[in-house]
C-alpha cells in the first residue's frame, strides 16, 4: 500500500507519496490524487518517496492530469530520484504533465502557470 501525507500551503495541496506504484497500488494513487485535484486548487504530487513506478503508475498520473485539466487546476509532480524517475523521460510524460525536480520548483511552476481561476474559491 502507498502512504500519503498532506500539507496545505495556501491554495496548494502537497501530497507526499511513499511506497511502490505498481499495478496493485496505482488505483490508490489515482484515487488520492483525483480527490485532491477535485477538492483543492492546485496539487503538487511529491513522488520523491516513491521507490518503484511502472506504466500503471504513468497511466494513473495521466488520468489525474486529465481531471485536473478539466477542472482548470494544475497538477505538478516532483519527480522520484533516479533511476525511478527515468521512466518519465522514456514515455515523454513531460509533454502532458508539469514535472519539477523539487518542491520549491513545483511551487514556482504553479505561480507561473496557475490559471487566474485559482485566485477565487470554486
Amino acid at each position: 500500500m502507498l502512504r500519503f501525507t498532506v500539507d496545505e500551503t495556501g491554495r496548494v495541496k502537497v501530497l507526499h507519496v511513499r511506497g511502490e506504484v505498481d499495478i496493485t497500488t496505482a488505483p490508490q494513487l489515482n484515487r488520492e490524487l483525483t480527490n485532491a485535484v477535485t477538492n483543492s486548487h492546485h496539487v503538487i504530487a511529491d513522488l520523491t518517496g516513491v521507490s518503484y513506478l511502472d506504466m500503471s503508475g504513468i497511466r494513473a498520473l495521466e488520468a489525474v492530469q486529465q481531471v485536473a485539466h478539466e477542472q482548470g487546476r494544475l497538477l505538478v509532480l516532483v519527480a522520484p530520484p533516479e533511476p525511478i524517475g527515468n521512466v518519465f523521460g522514456i514515455v515523454q510524460l513531460r509533454r502532458a504533465i508539469h514535472i519539477a525536480k523539487s518542491q520549491e520548483e513545483a511551487f514556482k511552476i504553479i505561480k507561473r502557470e496557475g490559471p487566474p481561476s485559482s485566485e477565487s474559491p470554486p
Binding site: 511502490e20 505498481d22 499495478i23 496493485t24 518503484y52 511502472d54 506504466m55 500503471s56 504513468i58 495521466e62 533516479e82 533511476p83 525511478i84 521512466v87 522514456i90 514515455v91 515523454q92
Partner: protein, 166 residues
Amino acid sequence: MCDRSAFGGKQVRCNWQESGAGPLAELSDNLPWQISLRLETDPQESDVLRATRKIVYAAAKTVGATDAVAYEIELAIGEALSNAWLHAYGGGIGIIELDAAFDGTFFTFTVHDQGAPVTPLPAIPRELPKKGQGRGLYLIGQLMDEAEVLKREGKGVALRLRKRVR
C-alpha cells in the same frame, strides 16, 4: 574449504575470504546459472508479481549489477509480468513462468503465459506509441539491451529479454 576446482567442470577462483567479497560474487565470475519460477497469479492483488520482480532485482544485485541496472531489470520484468497477468488472464488466475539465466555477463529472461494465442503477434515498438496499447512493450524495449516477442507453439505469449549486467 576453497577446493572447488571441479565444481561444474570449471576452474573457480576462491579467494573471497581474502578479498572480503561474498562467495556468490566470486562463484558467479565463472559459473553460468539459472532460475525457473512458476507463479500463479491472484485475482485480488499482485503481491506474487511484486515478489517475483524483487527476486529478479536480488538476482541482478547478486552478480554485481549496479542499483540502477538492477532496477531497470526489475521494472522490465515487472512490466512483462503485469502484461501477462492483464492480457493473458484479464487480471485473474493463471500461470506465468519466468526463466532467468546468467551467463557471466548477460541475464536472459523469458516470461511466458498460458493464455490464448495472440494474433498477430505484437512486436516491441521502436518508437513511443501514442497513449493506449504498446507503451509497456516500448518501455521494456528501452530498459533492456534486447527484447523480443517469441513465437510459441500452442498457448500463450513469451517475451525474451536480455541485459548486460557487468
